[in-house]
């Protein structure tokens, strides 16, 4: 302050400014130290992973080769027991990651060994850690190595205060595939709270009939996104069972829905419900005034080996919407190999002078 001329305006601000300089310099120094620590921590962690990986590699190789799985899994016990408590969940993760290609039986045997080694218990405890990313990582780990007992821990985490932890817990529940998770997840999905719609969709799709029930309820939701997602969910579920019911539900949605996004979603979803009779509502959807719905219908009709689908697609190859026209031509081409729709599709293609048909045929020739 002494160096500043006494008559300089704002002279009183000089002293606080000096303190600000000192403060900023101190914070900079602290951040520099934090940067160095973060860097070194990462190096240590990387080395730990490498060390554990090296010790586990021969056992994983034996497990992948098949043979006496139980005996090979038993070899894991001393390796895991020899690791510290912090390293055990990392090892468990590495083991199951290495066994991604192994059959379900082998993975179950290994999972049992890992649970007995205490790795699962440690991961379950880690879901209560203070740092949110540690909680999320623990949830994700439980999705891979968890047992039936982990389901309650993960369901509890669906109420975590951080969105990413809730998503990780939901995904883990989906990986474990236990039906107990369906009820809380359905509630979150229908209210569009807590877990992003896409994550809820992924998880509920893995829960079989319990998940399908959530999508059935979702079709009546006042929320557009839930209705659209439910259309896809119903169709995904119907790839294995209850196809007839799914077709009926989606047809009803296509005919009665006011929001074109839901109609387009229902039409797109029908693509998964392959068959030899195109649903009536899908055939009608090619006349929808909204191009997005026509586009979806044009693409979905390729999944139905039906002369009625061919008849609906023919005029669409000259649709004013370029994308609809192109998709219709591609769908016709796809149908031209079918048993029922093949002959009329080939005839329609031959008689067409639409550029979209020419383009689709030229592209198909290249693939052939």
């Amino acid at each position: 302050v002494a160096g500043v001329p006494p008559d300089l305006p704002l002279r009183d601000l000089f002293e606080p400014l000096v303190w600000v300089v000192a403060g900023l310099a101190a914070v900079n120094l602290a951040l520099f130290v934090a940067l160095v620590v973060a860097r070194e921590q990462w190096v240590v962690h990387r080395r730990l992973r490498e060390r554990i990986g090296t010790r586990l590699a021969p056992v994983i190789e034996r497990l992948l080769q098949g043979g006496d799985t139980q005996r090979a899994a038993e070899e894991l016990r001393p390796v895991i027991a020899g690791l510290g408590p912090q390293a055990r969940p990392v090892a468990a993760w590495l083991v199951l990651d290495g066994l991604r290609e192994a059959d379900a039986g082998t993975r179950d045997v290994v999972r049992q060994v890992l649970a007995e080694s205490g790795a699962v218990e440690l991961a379950e405890r880690a879901t209560r850690r203070w740092m949110p990313w540690r909680r999320a990582l623990a949830c994700e780990l439980l999705g891979t190595i968890g047992t039936e007992g982990s389901v309650d821990v993960l369901v509890w985490r669906l109420r975590d205060r951080r969105a990413e932890v809730r998503s990780a817990a939901a995904r883990a529940l989906g990986m474990l595939g236990h039906p107990v998770a369906a009820s809380p997840l359905t509630e979150l999905f229908l209210r569009q709270e807590g877990v992003p719609t896409g994550v809820a969709y992924d998880v509920l799709s893995r829960l079989g009939e319990a998940g399908a029930d959530a999508f059935r309820q979702g079709l009546e939701s006042p929320r557009v996104s839930v209705r659209v997602t439910s259309c896809f969910g119903i169709a995904a579920h119907a790839e294995t069972v209850a196809r007839g019911q799914a077709v009926a539900l989606l047809e009803q949605r296509l005919r009665t829905e006011e929001d074109p996004r839901v109609r387009a979603g229902a039409a797109s979803a029908m693509r998964s419900l392959r068959g030899d009779a195109a649903p009536g509502a899908l055939l009608e959807a090619v006349h929808d005034p909204v191009p997005a719905v026509r586009r979806s219908a044009a693409k979905a009709l390729a999944a139905f080996d039906d002369p009625a689908a061919v008849a609906a697609l023919g005029p669409l190859t000259s649709d004013e919407d370029r994308e609809t026209a192109l998709r219709a031509a591609e769908s016709l081409l796809a149908l031209s190999d079918g048993k029922r729709g093949g002959e009329p599709a080939r005839r329609t293609l031959l008689g067409s002078d639409a550029w979209t048909v020419e383009s689709a045929r030229a592209t198909a020739r290249l693939t052939a």
């Binding site: 300089l8 719609t197 896409g198 994550v199 996004r261 387009a264 026209a325 030229a362």
Partner: protein
């Protein structure tokens, strides 16, 4: 006079203190977000089977890119995401860009067709590769990058469109990582921006960066700028849903949403920023849930200018683009209906990013004159400069910490080098940038920017959400 100079210097100082505090707030949010991002998560784990995920068309505009185009396209075709297509738009190149593509990928002509959703310069021909339908090449009259992107949007067939440059390289899992926000929020997510990193001295192998390295001088400075600009603030803007720029070097958009708002604007220099702002501007009122996200771990490597003259040209263009975009979308300023983009990010861009170079140059001039007129005021000038420099350094440190949390990409030696260069930044790099950006502002104001004043406002589309097909799931 001394009094006036001291007060003026304090005004400039207060302006920068406010700017720095705001930016530090953003950095703090970004840091908080990055510390608990799930580390080391492999995105492939959560990926849906091919029939249940959206297709991606990568649009690559190319103008006289004969040296790099084949390598870039080959690298893109190596991505194992499906369904994927690569659409190269040869924007009237006068070199052998098309000939090299033809030679490398054995192209066959297809009918161009009609009914394109966006007006562009005339399309000459459309080609598909005989070696696989995943590559299509369209030749057109020269119309500029935005025009080429619009042509690509018309040719692209998938629901999502990734835009990139012919001289940029996408990390092998960049598309998958950028896809994550779309998978999580399929009915809300409209666009996702990726992280652009400087690749100048890095070692490449088979179209990917094997060992990231840092050069010196302007390369190091740009590396710092990119780290601060992307990891430092965009994570925060994304969290607040106020991200106003999805970089043209790598961004993933919903094709129909982009077409619905009229595509990219050829008459602006910052077409990527302008299009992102327009998405906010046009969509938010009718699609309140619409969000533009940032995927910090979706990486695109790019060649930054390594000569001062090239850097100068780039920064003048960026400044002009920024000012044009702010001017076009000034109606968003301070409006609640646009959420954080209207209340926070637009004011931040307009008050700080757009005019800070003028304040910075003014500050230097005032300090110099003050020291000449009143040499005894040097402690005052020194203290203010020191505060500004330390604030800047704080931002750099926080941004590097975010990077350490996320990537750990650089070696110890390179990180030390980067820190060393950051200490010198305020001595030469900042004043240079301020000078160039101010010259860009002046050129715009005196009408030396071609096309200024002819921006076709009426061409801006209004994409209703119902016009957009739901994403496959």
């Amino acid at each position: 006079m001394t009094d006036a100079l001291v007060i003026a210097s304090f005004v400039v100082f207060a302006y920068f203190a406010l700017f720095n505090l705001f930016t530090l707030g953003l950095l703090a949010i970004s840091f908080g977000e990055s510390t608990w991002l799930v580390r080391g998560r492999q995105p492939q784990r959560g990926l849906r089977p091919p029939g249940h995920r959206p297709g991606i068309s990568v649009v690559v505009p190319a103008y006289n890119e004969q040296e790099v185009v084949v390598a870039t396209v080959s690298a893109l075709l190596r991505h194992d995401y499906a369904p994927l297509e690569v659409v190269v738009v040869d924007d009237g190149s006068t070199d052998a860009t098309f000939a090299r593509l033809d030679h490398a990928f054995d192209l066959v002509q297809l009918p161009v067709g009609s009914g394109f959703p966006l007006p562009t310069a005339a399309l000459r021909s459309l080609h598909v590769s005989r070696r696989g339908r995943r590559l299509r090449v369209v030749r057109k009259e020269n119309g500029g990058r935005a025009d080429a992107l619009n042509a690509g949007l018309g040719i692209a067939r998938h629901e999502l469109v990734a835009i990139t440059d012919a001289d940029s390289v996408l990390h092998p899992d960049a598309l998958i990582r950028a896809l994550r926000p779309f998978e999580e929020h399929p009915d809300e997510c409209v666009a996702v921006g990726g992280t652009i990193r400087v690749a100048n001295r890095s070692r490449f192998s088979r179209g990917r960066v094997e060992v990231p390295r840092i050069g010196g001088g302007i390369e190091a400075m740009q590396t710092l700028e990119y780290v601060r600009g992307f990891l430092g603030t965009r994570i925060a803007w994304s969290r607040l849903n106020g991200l106003l720029i999805v970089s043209g070097a790598f961004g993933l958009f919903r094709r129909e949403a982009l077409i619905g708002i009229g595509g990219f604007l050829p008459s602006t220099m910052g077409e990527d920023m302008e299009a992102t702002m327009r998405l906010h501007h046009r969509l938010r009122s009718r699609w309140p849930g619409a969000r533009i996200a940032y995927a910090a771990d979706a990486i695109c490597w790019t060649q930054a200018p390594n000569r001062l003259s090239a850097l100068r040209g780039q920064r003048v263009r960026w400044q002009v683009g920024l000012l044009e975009s702010v001017r076009l979308h000034a109606a968003m300023l301070g409006r609640r209906r646009y959420g954080a983009s209207g209340l926070l990010s637009m004011p931040y861009l307009a008050l700080f990013e757009a005019i800070s170079p003028i304040f910075e140059l003014g500050g230097y001039a005032i300090a110099i004159v003050l020291l000449i007129v009143e040499p005894s005021a040097w402690p005052w000038v020194a203290a203010m400069l020191l505060v500004t420099v330390l604030f800047g350094q704080l931002q750099t440190m926080l941004a590097l910490l975010v990077q350490e949390n996320e990537f750990h990409g650089y070696s110890r030696r390179d990180l030390t080098r980067l820190l060393g260069w950051s200490l010198l930044e305020c001595l030469w790099y900042h004043p240079l940038l301020a000078l160039w950006r101010t010259s860009g502002t002046v050129r715009l104001l005196i009408g030396r920017r071609p096309g200024w004043g002819k921006i076709p406002r009426e061409a801006l589309g209004d994409a209703p959400p119902e016009a957009v097909t739901p994403l496959t799931r």
